[in-house]
């Protein structure tokens, strides 16, 4: 099974729109949305099955048992994350959002007043329909450890799909940090959806360096290419210089917003952008070594 991950560096370049189109065109039996911070792909896939929901425990966090606490302040002193506060009454408490679960406070407490507590970081969702297996998750607000949640989303997908399936399509998250790094591991190729702007190019080079550092193959397409033709040619030259596969350009098309708001993938709408996305899809499949699916 070839695993294709769609990324962008910068947010809002059209990652999910393109991922949705690819899912529609390929009929991929394995699909994941790893943008656990802001998952959207399900909104245009319409898998009419109730997802199997499972709570995901991230790192355990710690709590102070006030009845045992002797107010020595050793924990507050030792915590590198400033997660422990002493209120005006002299009571010590751990702020759950700031706690990273390192266990140093429990280690330094002379009276064992600090104990571990399970912490639910997110919810894993798995939909198994006739058409495909779709795996995603929602990070609980303010949650950490999203890298581990992303890894779990992929593990659950691959546990339920056959290695003989031709392709898996994975929608990633913006940025270059831990969830992105976790999503890249083990994929065959990353398709980066670039935006032709000064900031888009800056973000593109950052995500390319991140993916390269992990040794992954990279293909690039430009969305809304006609919004800045100079920047589009800059991206194309960058791809040539860096030896990255350039797989096409997609025009700005007001129909895209219309299709998304009707809950459709762009290729289900009859418009200019849909024609261009089809070409990008074909080029990408060729890069992946898949002729026809």
């Amino acid at each position: 099974m070839k695993k294709l991950l769609i990324l962008s560096g910068k947010g809002g370049t059209g990652k999910t729109t393109i991922a949705g189109a690819f899912v529609h065109l390929s009929g991929a039996p394995a699909v994941a949305d790893c943008d656990v911070d802001a998952p959207n792909l399900h909104l245009i896939l319409h898998d009419e099955v109730e997802p199997i929901r499972e709570e995901f425990c991230g790192m355990n966090k710690f709590v102070i048992e006030d009845s045992l606490c002797i107010r020595c302040g050793a924990c507050l002193e030792a915590c590198r994350f400033d997660a422990i506060q002493r209120n005006t009454k002299g009571i010590y408490a751990i702020q759950v959002d700031a706690c990273e679960g390192c266990a140093v406070c429990a280690y330094v407490c002379p009276v064992q007043a600090i104990r571990e507590k399970e912490h639910i970081a997110g919810d894993l969702l798995l939909s198994i329909s006739d058409r495909r297996v779709f795996s995603t998750a929602e990070l609980r607000r303010g949650g950490g450890t999203s890298g581990r949640l992303v890894t779990e989303v992929k593990n659950r997908l691959f546990a339920r799909t056959s290695e003989d399936s031709p392709i898996a399509i994975i929608d990633g998250s913006p940025g270059i940090g831990c969830p992105v790094i976790a999503s890249i591991s083990g994929v065959d190729m990353v398709l980066i959806v670039a935006e032709p702007s000064v900031t888009g190019i800056s973000d593109l080079t950052r995500i390319v360096k991140t993916a390269r550092g992990l040794g992954t193959r990279i293909a690039i397409c430009v969305n809304r290419f006609d919004s800045n033709l100079n920047k589009t040619s800059e991206i194309e030259s960058y791809c040539r210089e860096e030896n990255l596969s350039f797989v096409g350009r997609i025009p700005y098309d007001p129909e895209v917003v219309g299709a998304v708001n009707r809950g459709l993938t762009i290729v289900e709408a009859d418009c200019e952008a849909a024609v261009a996305v089809r070409k990008v899809y074909e080029e990408t499949m060729q890069c992946l070594g898949l002729k026809e699916i």
Binding site: G11, T16, F81, C102, R141, G143, G147, G177, V198, S202
Partner: protein, 288 residues
């Protein structure tokens, strides 16, 4: 000196909704002001707010503490490897081996080592630039490529911004609703949620709305890229009684200027009033 003290955090669940557009232009219309870029994975405000004098830009390297293990003193007891919750230490060839990018700098290994074989050293993970741009003090954090967490960089730039308590401070947050966003809004007086007119936009608006509700901070929404037709994000605001601070229309010229990293309220004066209106609505909401 007039007290303009106001800390505004600008956020959005989804990327690319116009967070940076709103942040840099709010900083511009409230100048003299401070702009803080906490989107350290993709720091983009610097392109819109160029330094008046590149030579006056100061760059601080941001470092975190990591352990150094003396292989001669270490007796291979494994206590540190077993203590580390982040699996940053592996036990290879009878000695602990550190994976620095996984280390959270908690200092636990150093504490549990009974032989004193672990000392502290520093590792650079990012940088903070500080400079002036047309009346705006710009503080821009950047995480190094390949790092997994930008939180220490965010903490650092927010700490720098605390040196300006009397000013209007605009904080450009990372996208999403994870821990890095919580960190960015922790000291804010008011949160601005920027949303697009799509079902994606509305769905992610719901996620950040839940986040700001949890943080107990006052907030309002800016509707960006508004067009004719249905705006699911606007419906969400109406349904949940969220104040709409302003509407920025979809305008190819705004898109064009932004793609060249131009400040629209300076280069396209007709847009300045949108940001002035948003600022005045924020002040009204804060005064409530």
């Amino acid at each position: 000196m007039p007290n303009n003290s106001l800390r505004v955090a600008v956020l959005s669940g989804k990327g690319g909704t116009g967070k940076t557009l709103v942040s840099v232009n709010l900083a511009y219309v409230s100048s003299p002001s401070i702009y803080v870029d906490c989107d350290v994975e993709e720091p983009n405000g610097q392109y819109f707010l160029q330094p008046d004098d590149p030579l006056s830009l100061t760059r601080e390297v941001i470092e975190v503490l990591i352990p150094t293990i003396d292989p001669v003193i270490c007796n291979g007891c494994r206590d540190c490897v077993e203590f580390c919750r982040f699996h940053a230490l592996a036990f290879i060839k009878n000695r602990p081996l550190l994976f620095p990018e996984v280390c959270h700098s908690c200092g636990g290994c150093e504490r549990v080592c009974t032989r004193g074989a672990i000392t502290r050293s520093k590792r650079a993970i990012g940088s903070a630039d500080n400079y002036r741009s047309d009346g705006i003090q710009v503080i821009s954090g950047a995480m190094n490529i390949g790092e997994s967490s930008g939180v220490p960089v965010i903490r650092h730039v927010l700490a720098i911004s605390n040196n300006f308590p009397e000013e209007t401070i605009v904080i450009d947050c990372p996208p999403g609703s994870a821990c890095v966003v919580m960190e960015s809004i922790s000291d804010a007086d008011f949160c601005v949620l920027v949303a697009e007119p799509t079902i994606f936009g509305a769905h992610n608006l719901r996620m950040v709305h839940e986040l700001v509700c949890r943080s107990d901070k006052p907030f309002g929404v800016v509707l960006n890229k508004c067009q004719e037709g249905w705006n699911p994000s606007e419906d969400y605001c109406v349904d949940h009684g969220i104040p709409v601070l302003g509407r920025i229309p979809y305008d190819p010229l705004i898109g064009q200027l932004s793609s060249e990293a131009k400040l629209v309220s300076r280069e396209y004066p007709a847009t300045e009033r949108f940001f002035r209106e948003i600022l005045s609505n924020i002040r009204k909401e804060v005064a409530k």
